[in-house]
């Protein structure tokens, strides 16, 4: 076991990546799903071991193929990556386990092996981004996960997914290419691709213009991938028309992985070295974050399509994550990372509940969901619980990160008060859009569009929906795990500041 323990970082990528081509061969009914779910669960187990490892202080550095950094490709897992790895693998596992029935509806039997293969490639790509410490390697994994996610988003029956995916593909590729230009420029000036090595060498050339340009390209490119306002336009439709299980998976973690790269790159490589970068970073991201919160929430208030409403809420929530980071303080970063975790819990649970509703309601329009709670009280209740967490009601996970965020903003004095006002306004708008959902489910009359014979979601799906909903309450009261990971990560990210 000792030997295997050392290989955990690479196994995190290798397991789903090797399973992907095998899954294609599994033609018999349901087998592809079973294999994908099993390997996703195995990834989750590996991620849990990694989390336990980093919490006990293990340093996971892995020289791929035995080639030492900076010449070889280095894999590295620290608290930050372990936190996001946990999110990604958990989201994938629960989406696969709960999504069986929903995916059977959306994807024809003979295409399922291909679909699940692509799903595993997304997982492998996301995991690869998180374990890699090499800038170019991150690009490659980013493209693996993106290309595969275009496939799974377009995998359903809704034809409107196709133009949505096309837009996603164009914007995603532009983002990745920007990132590629950025690391090309950095490589040109420093001759290294290893992040840690880059940090040391970039210092000497920090005053040169290509480095500044590189910082711009990398930040904008990753912001595109992370759907930072106003580069978010690909996100709402892609989430809305994707198969519901895919929405669960991607909404919970995909943009967060890009944010992870953004934070890691900016804090580890640029922050210490570029004169005034701290200010530029904050000045660039903070207004965008504020706008994201306000505009995203405002659009969500007026949206009728349930999934698109939640997608716009995601745009706003990405704003909270960025807002915390743009404070460039321990408190702010901790809040930001905690919110990554807590928002994934809330949004994951919400989309799971949406998947449950979609089993019975073909149209996820708020005006057509009347009577849903009467026939599916458990699903509707889970959605309400997750919604409360998204608002940030005390006793739920969402409250914890809001608390940290407000606390960190208050540290900034008078401008901080303005930020608090923005956070509060965002939360109040969340009350409005969540309550529109609650009212639509619980109080609206049934319409002629209400399908006949609506009953509760399948038991297995319901159990997992509630598992996710209860996780929101559990992590709202017992906060030690995410808090410790977030605090340590924030400290290590900020440790790179002078």
């Amino acid at each position: 076991m000792i030997a295997l323990e050392n290989h955990l970082p690479v196994l995190q990528v290798v397991v789903p990546m090797l399973m992907a081509p095998l899954v294609v061969l599994l033609r018999p009914r349901g087998l592809a799903w079973a294999a994908a779910a099993a390997s996703s669960l195995m990834s989750l187990v590996i991620a849990i071991q990694l989390v336990a490892g980093v919490l006990s202080g293990t340093d996971y550095s892995y020289a791929l193929g035995g080639w030492e950094a900076p010449y070889g490709i280095e894999l590295q897992v620290d608290d930050f990556s372990a936190l996001v790895l946990l999110l990604v693998t958990a989201a994938s596992s629960i989406a696969l386990l709960a999504g069986k029935a929903s995916l059977d509806q959306a994807i024809e039997q003979h295409r399922q092996p291909l679909f699940f293969s692509a799903w595993l490639l997304v997982l492998a790509g996301l995991a690869g981004i998180l374990v890699s410490a090499d800038a170019f390697n991150i690009f490659v994994f980013m493209e693996i996960s993106s290309l595969a996610s275009y496939v799974i988003v377009a995998g359903g029956t809704d034809r409107r997914a196709l133009p949505a995916v096309f837009k996603y593909l164009i914007m995603g590729t532009i983002g990745a290419t920007f990132y590629l230009i950025g690391i090309g420029l950095v490589y040109m000036m420093t001759g290294t691709l290893n992040l840690a090595d880059m940090e040391l060498r970039i210092h000497e050339v920090a005053d040169q213009r290509p480095i500044l340009v590189a910082a711009g390209f990398i930040t904008v490119g990753l912001a595109l991938k992370a759907a930072v306002f106003p580069l978010h336009v690909w996100l709402p439709n892609a989430y809305t028309y994707a198969p519901h299980a895919v929405s669960v998976f991607l909404a919970a973690c995909a943009t967060k992985v890009s944010l992870y790269v953004l934070l890691r790159f900016d804090f580890v490589v640029f922050q210490q070295n570029l004169l005034g970068h701290e200010l530029q970073f904050a000045a660039f991201l903070m207004p965008l974050a504020v706008l994201a919160i306000l505009v995203g929430s405002a659009v969500a208030i007026y949206e009728y399509n349930l999934k698109r409403l939640l997608a716009y809420s995601s745009v706003a929530q990405i704003g909270y994550i960025l807002l915390g980071a743009s404070l460039v303080s321990i408190g702010g970063l901790t809040a930001s990372l905690l919110h990554m975790f807590n928002h994934a819990l809330a949004k994951g649970a919400l989309f799971l509940a949406v998947m449950g509703l979609a089993m019975r309601f073909a149209q996820l329009d708020l005006r057509n969901l009347g009577g849903a709670a009467r026939h599916m009280p458990w699903t509707a209740a889970a959605m309400a619980v997750a919604g409360l967490s998204l608002i940030g009601i005390p006793g739920t996970a969402g409250f914890i990160s809001k608390w940290y965020l407000v606390d960190a903003a208050l540290d900034k004095g008078i401008p901080g008060l303005a930020l608090v006002a923005v956070i509060v306004a965002g939360s109040l708008m969340a009350v409005v859009y969540i309550w529109r959902i609650v009212e639509a489910l619980w109080f609206a009359e049934e319409t002629e569009n209400t399908p006949q014979g609506v009953r509760e979601a399948p038991a297995a799906m319901l159990a997992l929906i509630w598992l996710a909903a209860l996780a929101n309450i559990y992590f709202g009261l017992v906060t030690e795990l995410p808090r410790e990971l977030a605090t340590v990560s924030a400290e290590s990210l900020l440790g790179h500041l002078p």
Partner: protein
């Protein structure tokens, strides 16, 4: 003539903008993809350009030669990977365009929007 001395970077920049323009301005989805390819190719050129060392040759040891100057092989290797990524993207994009044509009967962006709005 500093301007001419870095002309290959100008080529990179101009190609990049041509590609970007096509992606943004064209309504035909295939033309958008062509623009995207041009956009990516520009970046390939950037990498190749930066790896060039004056007087350098291909990085292959030759018997008897000493003090050889090689071009940096690493960016070339990187860009091989990036080319593969680019091809995959284009292929997937074209695949999606074919599906859109099947479903909507058109590959003009505004016409698709028109159909969806109905």
């Amino acid at each position: 003539m500093e301007f001419l001395g870095i002309y290959h970077y100008w080529v990179f920049a101009v190609l990049l903008m041509i590609g970007f323009y096509a992606v943004v301005a064209k309504v035909n989805l295939v033309k958008k993809l062509i623009g995207l390819s041009v956009f990516q190719s520009a970046v390939f050129l950037l990498y190749i350009t930066m790896s060039k060392v004056s007087g350098g040759t291909a990085p292959i040891f030759q018997k008897g030669e000493v003090d050889q100057i090689f071009s940096n092989p690493l960016p070339q290797v990187l860009i091989l990977t990036a080319i593969v990524v680019g091809i995959s993207t284009t292929a997937l994009g074209l695949g999606i365009v074919v599906r859109i044509k099947e479903e909507y009967g058109t590959i003009e962006e505004h016409e698709i929007q028109e159909i969806d709005r109905r």
